[in-house]
């Protein structure tokens, strides 16, 4: 798993590439989020469009990213859910917890 970080109109976009699964990627996501919050970047949009695989640990990472950012008064949203991730979020009743978008401009514009 690799993470590219971009800044678009005050929103930090994290482009995740590869697999977010147990033993792979979870630490990376957590560290990236922690660094961003430390530097007062609290508007975070996570782009999952290039994520090839997610298991329950990966879904857990999305949840803990969300709670960590929200607890610090920030906003955490998702971009480009794959069909499989959408399905996993649906059955775990998390689809309504996350704000998610399929269009980056709309997603970035949605941050207040």
């Amino acid at each position: 798993m690799t993470i590219d970080t971009r800044s678009v109109n005050g929103v930090t976009v994290l482009d995740l590439h590869g697999k977010v699964t147990i033993g792979e990627g979870s630490r990376e996501v957590r560290e990236t989020i922690r660094e961003l919050l430390k530097n007062e970047n609290k508007n975070i949009l996570m782009n999952l469009g290039d994520v090839s695989y997610v298991d329950s640990a990966g879904i857990g990472e999305l949840v803990s990213s969300y709670t960590t950012v929200t607890n610090q008064g920030g906003q955490f949203k998702l971009l480009n859910l794959t069909k499989k991730i959408r399905e996993l979020l649906a059955i775990t009743k998390l689809l309504t917890v996350f704000d998610s978008f399929d269009d980056e401009t709309a997603a970035v514009g949605s941050f207040s």
């Binding site: 699964t21 147990i22 033993g23 792979e24 298991d55 329950s56 640990a57 879904i59 857990g60 990472e61 949840v63 803990s64 969300y66 709670t67 794959t82 069909k83 499989k84 399905e87 996993l88 059955i91 775990t92 009743k93 998390l94 917890v97």
Partner: protein
């Protein structure tokens, strides 16, 4: 032009699949397990989407065997048995751990657990497989038994591939 003689390329389909795999407790084997699972479930006749959810379930089960059962001890083995029948695939995942009390596993859909980072693995397995059970092994260790029937639609199978 181009008279095609298309020959049977199903010579390799299996009568009855019956494959056993075992390895030390390392997450590094998960991709390999997933590949084997996909091959076997393809041979048995599951479509691509169903195979995806079967093999995600096996990943979850093996992750738990490595993490919770064998507590990441690389010297402890995880065993996987794939057994196909005309109408279903049975997969057994075995670890060398103490087992656990399933009634103590929290419900990930309970609003108070919704934002917990963990606790969705067994739930995924129960969502995507038709039968799921845990049983202690005679010589010690835990066996998770999962069964998936052919031509049986469950949650998650209606969606197309991504």
């Amino acid at each position: 032009m181009g008279e095609e003689i298309r020959k049977d390329n199903q010579v390799h389909s299996l009568g009855k699949a019956d494959l056993h795999l075992s390895f030390g407790s390392q997450f590094g084997y998960l991709d390999l397990v997933q590949e084997v699972c996909d091959s076997i479930s393809r041979m048995v006749g599951f479509d691509e989407d169903t195979r995806y959810w079967i093999c995600l379930s096996i990943r979850e089960s093996v992750s738990n065997a490595i993490q919770h059962g064998n507590k990441m001890d690389e010297n402890k083995k995880v065993g996987i048995q794939f057994e196909s029948f005309p109408d279903r695939l049975v997969i057994l995942v075995q670890d060398e751990g103490e087992g656990f009390d399933e009634s103590q596993v929290r419900d990930p859909l309970d609003p108070k657990n919704l934002l917990k980072p963990g606790g969705r693995g067994v739930f995924f397995v129960r969502s995507f497989m038709d039968e799921v059970g845990f049983e202690p092994l005679p010589g010690g260790g835990l066996q998770m038994r999962m069964e998936k029937r052919l031509n049986h639609k469950k949650q998650g199978e209606e969606e197309n591939d991504n």
